[in-house]
Structure formats: structure tokens, C-alpha cells
Subunit: 401 residues, 2 copies
Amino acid sequence: MIPQEIIRTLAVSTPSKIVLLVLDGLGDISAGEGTPLEIAATPNLDRLAAGGILGQTDPISPGITPGSGPAHVSLFGYDPIRYQIGRGVLEATGINMPLTPSDVCTRGNFATMDGDRRITDRRAGRIPTEENRRLIELLSKEIKEIDGVEVILETVKEHRFVAVFRGEGLDGRLAETDPQALEVKSLDPEPLDPAAEFTSSVVKKFIEQANRVLADQRPANTFLLRGFSKLPDIPSLEDLYRLKPAAIAAYPMYRGLAALVGMETLQTGDAIADEFATLEENWTLFDYFFVHIKKTDSHGEDGNFAGKIEIIEEVDRLLPRLLTLEPAVIAVTGDHSTPAVLKGHSWHPNPLLISAANVRSDASTRFSEVECQRGGLGRLPALEVMPLLLAHALKLEKFGA
Amino acid sequence: MIPQEIIRTLAVSTPSKIVLLVLDGLGDISAGEGTPLEIAATPNLDRLAAGGILGQTDPISPGITPGSGPAHVSLFGYDPIRYQIGRGVLEATGINMPLTPSDVCTRGNFATMDGDRRITDRRAGRIPTEENRRLIELLSKEIKEIDGVEVILETVKEHRFVAVFRGEGLDGRLAETDPQALEVKSLDPEPLDPAAEFTSSVVKKFIEQANRVLADQRPANTFLLRGFSKLPDIPSLEDLYRLKPAAIAAYPMYRGLAALVGMETLQTGDAIADEFATLEENWTLFDYFFVHIKKTDSHGEDGNFAGKIEIIEEVDRLLPRLLTLEPAVIAVTGDHSTPAVLKGHSWHPNPLLISAANVRSDASTRFSEVECQRGGLGRLPALEVMPLLLAHALKLEKFGA
């Protein structure tokens, strides 16, 4: 991989437009009859594959199962080992909470515990967002500051919220409190580095005070905290690649990821068709669009093989609206694989399709995992996708004389 | 490649079992009718290939022909550039000689020289092991210490022995004395670094004294020394990957390599069937088995194309015994290629087959070099094999949120 610092010197701004269409968790494994992508009827994607080039990408490296953060960081052209982004930061950015570099953020999940303080539901039955808002209001009124550290709470959705700790001397290296199991007590936010001892003591006091405030509430009478983290020091896509980038994503975490690398996050609806409409409405304003489809991953996580097929077919039916816009480059891929049979993220590489007027086409005729295994791009780190897209959009100058 | 230090944080111990079946020097090139692997009748390997995924691996990087040491170090998941292991250390570990970190080891080959001290046989006609033992006893009686450095000699097999130099201030950076040609004198163990001057002078004196002791012996009246080295500072497989690993290898050097990365080396017989029996007997005691088949390489080195085919077919016939054990993951591969027509190691990549319940299968139906070239895994550094095996055994947690 050529260093990002060198690509930066080669990047030029041009009017040509790139669309990175990410079907989250797209890649799968066969449950006997083939994968969802193989089974789905995808005439439009197949036409794109026939004229384009296929390959497979490793989000991190072979065998490594990535979280959504590093998987997207790679796709955006950043080394996921160098730029590690915590879940707390992701969630905060996803709901447009302004952060300062000294803040420590964490994601909270409202949960239920019994009289012996043992967790009985790690998501408090996925309480409605309105109920979440009421609890956050209650907590915010009672807890404003601990040992000189300001506490800022914000509802995300259902059982999820963000806590931001603002003050001097804070450090995000804390263990998460989610025991990842039921019938046990939540864990303490222990410091993972001596520098985080003060932060740990503040967060412990916060949890104690909050548990008192929530004691009489049902079903959410406690919460679990995960992904303590600070803002990473990451250059923007505009700075690195001279792009004017926009993100179209219904789900907060992906808007958060996009915002971290300097994308403008566009307001859009929950439906996939809404995302395509947002793309059409904003087409003239940007030269790079990250379009994120969440539900392929959601169905994968739920083991819903048929649901995944449906989402892929829905995207395929909407694809002509994207083609009508005539982008210079279209990439269709996943961020990581989420095989329905594994009900979770996996290490299997992502299928990748690149379509552009100047692509060197390969022999493939369909967009599927097996065709991508044989595709002309071979197997690449996902980190290499961004330079390839820039190249096909003629946004990279020659390296060397 | 993700740093080993990060993989270490992702690795978890589980009951699932991995078998890495290495047919040493497996890969070959066609002698007109195909390669040994293509010509051999391998119904069991082919069935495994049809349900699994194929690829090819470079032990070091494309074009580089590896020795057995770095080739195995890669397969075990260690960067072969970072962890370079000398042949002397390998041989010593292979015969269970206890080493201290300050020892310098070297492999010795008994050889024959004429009256003008010119080498006439680099292996002294591969003298019987008993003859070797007699000579080592003779040398050990006459030479115990040189300039305060203890000299420890041990027979390996046939013409091969190990010399260990034990004392303060020793350095393994010495040139080997094997001229790799006949009718010329042996070379001096020159220091390759100023820090090795003292060691060089000790070894030179050792050679002079030993040549006097051996002067009247026939056919072995001298020896050649190769692979001066010290123990590397290498973490164990248990420490890195939370494995409980065992090695089944008839040949000492491979037991030595396995021991260096912390594998338990199991007693086994010389026949391939003996190795499978050892696997069966120890199945419940470990979660990672390295099974090493030497003779594919031996026949390759001897230019015995037909012999290589026979060994591959023998392994295929024994394979059902391994399948009956129902490992979570089976990998079948070579450490490096040893084309019979080249009579030596080569740079050609290794065929690789991975079989597991959660593998993303590819279109291949046979296990052969050509099918591996088209395989779904693509072309990978051999270093990536270990993370892939751990992943398919569900022994790696997610990286990042």
C-alpha cells in the first residue's frame, strides 16, 4: 500500500462523481443452495458486473473479523490499525453531538437488573425512544457534574444513549461495564491504564448516582457502558483526497463514521428508497457519495437469510435511479461479511464490484461471492478501494516522472 | 497484515480443534503430464476441496525460495523476517538438546577430504548413525573446552550432528564452512560481524583440533559446519493465540521448529500411518495439531516424481482417519514447493486447502496447483494462514467496535 501521505500529493479535484454503495454485512456463506447474493434476482447488479470488474476485499486482513468502525475506516481509505475509533465517539458523532478533543464518550444501553443487582435484560426490552428520552431527562436533571467533570447525556434510539464526560485530565482507556451475559452483575469501569484512574473514579460515581436515580423505574433501572473513547486525530477526505464528500445513511453510527472523516451527513429517511431520493436531491452538490444500506447486516445478525435476499433485491430494483445520474465510478460492496448462519460479523472477505467507463473488465457476468473470488481485481485489502475509485474517476495524478 | 500484538488481544481459547497437515515440499511443476498432485489419485482430498476453499500462499513473498525454517515459521503465524531461526538451533531443538540463550549452535555434517584437504564427499557417504555416534564419542572425549568455551556434541542421524558452544560473549554471526562443492577445501568460519570474532577464533580452533582427532578415520575424516545461530526470542503459540498445540513429525528438525514456538512434540513412528495413529491417540489432549509429512519433500529433492505421487496417494488413503476425528478446521498445504525437476526447494507458491463448516466455498472440485491458482482464497502470504485457521475455528474475537 502506498502511504496516504503520498496519495495526498497525487489527488486532484475534478467534477467526476464517485458513488460508494455499501450494503452492510453483504458477504455471506452458502446455506446449501448458495449465498443470499447468489440466490437473489439482481439483473441490474449483474449487468453492472458484466461491464465492470469484480474482486474481494479484506476489511483488515485475512481471518480478522472487524467491527463496523474499522471496516468503514478501511473503505474510506484510512489504515484501520492506525486510526482506531471507539464506539462511544461513533455514537456521539452519529447524533451530531459536538465533541472536544479532551472529551471521553461512551455508549450506554439501558438495561434491567433484579433486586440483587444482577442483569436480567441487557437492553431493557429495547424500550421505546420516548421512554429513553424521559429517563435521560431525569438523569440529566439529577446529575450535571462529578468532581469537576461535566456529564452530558443524549438519547440515541430505543435503549441506546451517549454519555460524554467533559473536563481536564480524562482518559478513555476504561474497561466496559457490559458483562455480555445475564444473571451476573455489571462490571466496573476499571482503568486499563494508570492514566485513566481519575476517569474511572468519575464514571464509577456516575453509575452509582444514576442507579439511585433509576431505582424505581421499570423496566430500565440501570444501564451498561461500552466503548469509552476520545476523538481520533484523523485527516479529512477533503484534506487527503480533495473530495467534497457526502454520506447518506439512515443509521446514526454510520453518519458518525462519515462525519469523522469530514463527510457532510445528509438528512434522509429510514427506507432504502429515501436514501436514493436523497442521493438524487443532492447530486450536484458533492463529488463523492457514501450510501449506506443497513438492513443486509441487520438480517444477517438475526439469521434471517430470506430477509437478506429481499434487501439485496430491493437495492437492485432501485439501482437504475443511481445509474440515471451517470456517476463516473460506482462501487458496490460490503463493509464486512455478516453470514446469516453465523448471526454476526465474520472474517470472510467482501464482494466488490467496480463500474466505470475506463474499467478493465473481467470475465464475470454476475455479482456474487463466487464470481468475486474469480474476479479480475483479485483479493485486496479494503484500504486499496479508495485509491482504485479515485483512479477510475481520474482524480489521481501520476506518481513519479 | 495485522500486527501479531493485536491478534494476541483477539485470540480466545475454545474447545474447537485445528489440524494443519503439511506435506513438505508439496507444490510442484508439471513434467509434461501435470504435477504429482494433479496426477495422484486423491479422492478424499478432492472431496475436501469441493466442500472447502483453495488458494495459494507465498512462504515469504513471491519469488523467494525459503528454507524449511522460515517456511514453517510463516505457517505457524510468525513473521519469517522478524523471527529468523538458524539451522543449528533447529537441529539442537529437534534432538531435545537443552539450550541457553547465550549458546551458539551449529549443524555439523561428517564429510570426507583427501590428502590435500579437499572435500570429496560432503556427507561421508551418509555414514550410519552408529558410526556417527562412535565419532562423536571420540571427539567429545578429546575436546571438552576451548578458551573457556564448553563444547557439546550430539549425534543427530546418519552424517548429521550438532555442536553447541557454551560460554560468555559468543555470537552466532559466522560464515558456514560448507563450500557447497567438491574438490575444494572447506571454508573458514569467518565472523560476519566484529562481535563474532571471538566465537570465530574458538570455532576455528575446534575445527583444527577435531581434524587431528579424525585424521585416521574413514570415510568421515572431517566435517562441515552450517547454520551458526542462537535461540530466537519468540513468543509461544499459547501466549500469542491461546492454543494448546502439539506437533506430530517424524523428522527432528520439524519437531525442533515446533518446539521453538511452544508446541508439545509427540513421540511418533517413521511411517505416515504412525503419525495418523499418534494424532488419534492424542486427539483429546490438544486443540491444534501440526502434522508433518516429510517424504513429499525428500522425493522432490531426489527428483523422484513417481515417489512424490505415491506419498500423496498414501496420505489421501489415510485422510479418512483424520476426518473421522471431526476437527473444526483442516488445512492441507506445503511449507514450500520442492519440484522434482528442480531437485530442491523453490519459490513457487504452496497449494492451500481449508475445510471447515463455516468456510465460504469456491468453485473448485479438486486439490491441485491449477485449482489452487483459481481458488477463492486467492494468493496470500503464508503468514495469513494462521489467522484464517483461528477464524474458521471461531478462536478470534472482533477487532474494534
